[in-house]
């Protein structure tokens, strides 16, 4: 059967080209791989190779022809014993059939001309669900005082006891007992097979952790601080976050990346960045940033069990702070649920992680002035429990967000946009974002203090949205 040689597409964007030169003539024998023609595109001159063997029966498009559309038959190759009349017949039928070869709706959709079947996102509830917050700790549960550091360690230890495929790796996590002592005691209990000191090579060990997770293990990868994870960013985003989608659901990446995030104290620009907003932009990642020890424990346990890649953002200053933690055998909290840390009806303060420290102190100060602010702790940045924020704003009609990260494209600016879209009619004032200042973190004590949000700024913001 004669084979048509079609004008090839030689780049992702090529639609037509110039048939610059034929290097074979009608009647020539060609073998697969022989260069038969040259085609000029807007980018380069490309050689066209024969993909089959046979005799060149007929050239259908002469050299020098410009604007030859992709998929136009340009020549016909004949098999053994076929003659030129077969070539002409083939060419004639190909000319009719060729355009139909492409799926009819693809080019249009790709060009954005036909938007009729572009899928809408899964519908968001028109009104946020009115469901009350779940009771997370049964009444009468004994509470114990634990630091965030101890709570995180207990979470890992409990999950490692529960599941032999959970392991911890990172710099200084084993023999040194953790740069911030979060993994203290784990080596003794679980041994060097499951508590692994790595070289100082974030890019490499993050990728190695991803590979172990692809194979079904459940790695907890500790970054000594999240600042160093920028070296591992490619594996966190491209390898961990996107694989489930790229695999059509066939293979995912059950991994927890954790470590201290944001400013500590006087460690300057390269060691003080808050990454909440960065990671929260990435579909495929879940981003958790707890404030209290109880939330740290319950959410880290949930993160380790979750089949998705989790970004778990801790904070060095919070490590040493104590909170009441329920004494339960298996205290697991849901990822993606905010909680109301303080009730009020005058204004909503939304924060997470260390930002909650400013938010709660500000609410306390405001209460003394007779302003009852409600404080929402997001706990998870992605997926964000925006419904909880909206429910609160429906009550207070005012909102202030608090975070240590930079202002542009911040978590707060996202919340502002969500409120404008979904709760515009409930807002009595523009939302104010209290953030870290738009500068790299300075070293000097006074400047560092100025660069971070303050309780005073939160108080003033709440008064401002309250027009007081």
């Amino acid at each position: 059967m004669p084979t048509n040689i079609l004008m090839p597409a030689l780049s992702p964007t090529m639609e037509d080209g110039t048939l610059a030169k034929w290097l074979v003539q009608e009647g020539d024998q060609v073998a697969a791989g022989d260069v038969i023609a040259e085609i000029e595109t807007d980018k380069a001159t490309m050689e066209v190779e024969a993909v089959d063997e046979g005799r060149l029966g007929k050239i259908l498009v002469g050299e020098g022809t410009e604007g030859v559309k992709v998929n136009t038959p340009i020549a016909v190759i004949l098999g053994d014993g076929e003659d030129a009349s077969a070539a002409e017949a083939a060419a004639a039928s190909a000319a009719v059939e060729a355009p139909a070869a492409a799926p009819q709706d693809t080019p249009a959709a790709a060009n954005g001309e036909d938007t009729s079947d572009i899928a809408a996102p899964p519908p968001a509830a028109a009104e946020p669900s009115q469901a009350e917050e779940q009771i997370e700790v049964p009444e009468g549960t004994e509470m114990v005082e634990l630091t965030v550091r101890e709570a995180l360690r207990d979470a890992m230890a409990e999950e490692m006891r529960r599941d032999g495929e959970v392991f911890v790796m990172g710099e200084e996590v084993a023999e040194y007992q953790g740069a911030y002592k979060v993994t203290q005691g784990l080596l003794d209990e679980f041994g060097a097979k499951r508590v692994i000191d790595t070289p100082i090579t974030e890019h490499g060990f993050a990728g190695l952790g991803v590979g172990a997770a692809f194979a079904g293990l459940k790695p907890i990868v500790e970054f000594m601080t999240w600042n160093f994870a920028m070296q591992a960013m490619d594996h966190i985003i491209n390898s961990a976050a996107k694989t489930l989608y790229m695999a059509g659901g066939q293979m995912g990446c059950p991994i927890v990346f954790r470590g201290p995030n944001g400013a500590a104290a006087r460690v300057a620009a390269q060691h003080s960045q808050d990454y909440a907003a960065w990671y929260s932009q990435v579909p495929g990642l879940k981003v958790v940033q707890p404030h209290s020890a109880a939330d740290a424990k319950g959410l880290l346990k949930a993160a380790i069990r979750d089949p998705n890649p989790i970004i778990f953002l801790e904070n060095e200053i919070l490590y040493g702070q104590s909170f009441a933690v329920p004494k339960l055998d298996d205290f697991v909290l849901p990822i993606g649920k905010a909680k109301t840390s303080r009730s009020g009806d005058a204004a909503t303060i939304v924060s997470f992680g260390i930002g909650m420290s400013y938010a709660l102190k500000a609410a306390e100060a405001l209460a003394e002035e007779g302003i009852a602010a409600e404080v929402i702790d997001l706990r998870t940045i992605r997926p964000m429990d925006i419904d909880a924020v909206i429910r609160s704003v429906q009550k207070t009609n005012r909102c202030v967000t608090v975070e240590e990260g930079w202002p542009q494209s911040s978590v707060g600016s996202h919340i502002s946009a969500e409120l404008m879209t979904k709760a515009f009619d409930h807002l009595d004032a523009p939302v104010i974002n209290v953030t870290g200042k738009d500068v790299p973190m300075p070293y000097a004590a006074n400047l560092e203090k100025l660069a971070l949000p303050s309780v005073k700024e939160v108080v003033e913001a709440v008064k401002s949205v309250s027009y007081r």
Binding site: L6, M7, P8, A9, L10, S11, M14, K21, L23, E38, K43, T45, M46, E47, V51, V70, A101, A102, P103, T106, A110, D117, A119, P121, E165, K193, T198, P199, H203, G204, F205, A206, G207, L208, G209, V210, G211, A212, A213, F214, A215, G216, L217, H235, N238, S239, T243, L244, M246, A247, G248, G249, Q250, M251, P254, P283, G284, R305, P307, N308
Partner: protein, 354 residues
């Protein structure tokens, strides 16, 4: 060919017509262990399937049915086929973006691979991955990765899991001469040796990282030696000879499987086509490609031996070719007839159910 040189000269580039020796190993063919009749026939079939599949993919790309980037494996078939012949069940494969050959060699269905190339719902990733992103837990193929160098630590992670589970498997981690200069490769070499991970690093040295020859990109060009600082042994292998690949693969896999840690195999190979479909390949002379094709073609070598030894006649080989073409044509037909993903699939597979 003359035109391409002239064009390149006009563009102010120097074209060096200097085919390099493929490998020292190649000079002494007598050292290469022979394959059995069955093994030769199996290698022939597997390599031919990849060759014909890739030719078809090139055609479909030319017709606009495959979009985006498409990196063909033509010329390098002996590498993945030889390694796969050396592997045992459960050994993992991971590679970069020139990955169709690896998929087929591990036993992935040509229909599912081709349908992924055309972006259809019957593709391995349901149309959401494309040429560079396919996976099969069933055949232990872990992708298909678009970022140069990234599969290297991930492959070591697969090996880490093997060691953790003591399952006796080895991770075959493929990357190219271009990736061999990536920092993460050396971070991985260090950890793989430090922890004695069962991994074989297969460097497919096809001489060009996109358009830049190895010599222009690498301070040292012997890539098998790249692990020496870490105590990882390496070997250069004639990657155009499936027998040599299989023999080296068996040795390296056994080494890693026995608890000796990683090994590097530098496969000296060659890609006939451009880096991707839109690469005019002006950085090398046409003669260089033709010389490789005519003198070193991995499939022709097997075909020649099969006929010389009387293990297959020309007609027998034609029958195999016909059968392979049928398989590939069926894959291509499926890949064109299969519907595109449902628009609702845009939103699925972002998160796994917790």
């Amino acid at each position: 060919m003359a035109q391409s040189q002239a064009a390149a000269r006009q563009a102010g580039e120097e074209v060096q017509v200097r085919p390099e020796p493929v490998a020292d190993a190649e000079a002494d063919d007598s050292k290469v262990p022979e394959l059995s009749k069955d093994a030769e026939l199996s290698a022939y079939r597997s390599m031919l399937l990849i060759r014909r599949f890739e030719e078809k993919a090139g055609q479909l790309y030319g017709m606009g049915l495959i979009g985006g980037f498409c990196h063909l494996y033509i010329g390098q078939e002996a590498v993945v086929v030889g390694m796969q012949m050396a592997a045992i069940d459960g050994d993992q494969n991971i590679t970069g973006y020139r990955d169709h050959g690896h998929m087929l060699a591990t036993g992935m269905d040509p229909k599912g691979v081709m349908a992924e190339l055309t972006g259809r719902r019957g593709g391995y990733s349901r149309g959401k991955g494309g040429s560079m992103h396919m996976f099969s837990k069933e055949t232990h193929f872990y992708g298909g990765h678009g970022i140069v160098g990234a599969p290297v630590p991930i492959g070591a992670g697969l090996a880490f899991a093997n060691k953790y589970r003591e399952n006796g498997n080895v991770s075959m981690t493929y990357f190219g001469d271009g990736a061999a200069n990536q920092g993460q490769v050396y971070e991985t070499f260090n950890m793989a040796k430090l922890w004695q991970l069962p991994v074989v690093f297969v460097i497919e040295n096809n001489r060009y990282g996109m358009g830049t020859s190895l010599k222009r990109a690498s301070a040292t060009t012997n890539l098998a030696n790249r692990g020496l600082s870490f105590g990882i042994p390496g070997e250069q292998v004639n990657g155009m000879d499936v027998r040599a690949v299989k023999a080296a693969g068996e040795k390296a896999l056994e080494f890693a499987r026995s608890g000796n840690g990683p090994m590097i195999l530098e496969m000296l190979t060659y890609r006939y086509r451009g880096h991707s479909m839109s690469d005019p390949a002006k950085y090398r002379a046409r003669e260089e490609v033709q010389k490789m094709r005519s003198e070193n073609d991995p499939i022709e070598q097997v075909s020649h031996r099969l006929q010389e030894k009387g293990w297959a006649s020309e007609d027998d080989l034609k029958a195999i070719d016909k059968d392979i073409r049928r398989i590939v044509n069926e894959a291509a037909e499926f890949a064109q007839a299969d519907p595109e993903p449902d628009p609702s699939d845009l939103w699925t597979d972002v998160y796994a159910e917790a």
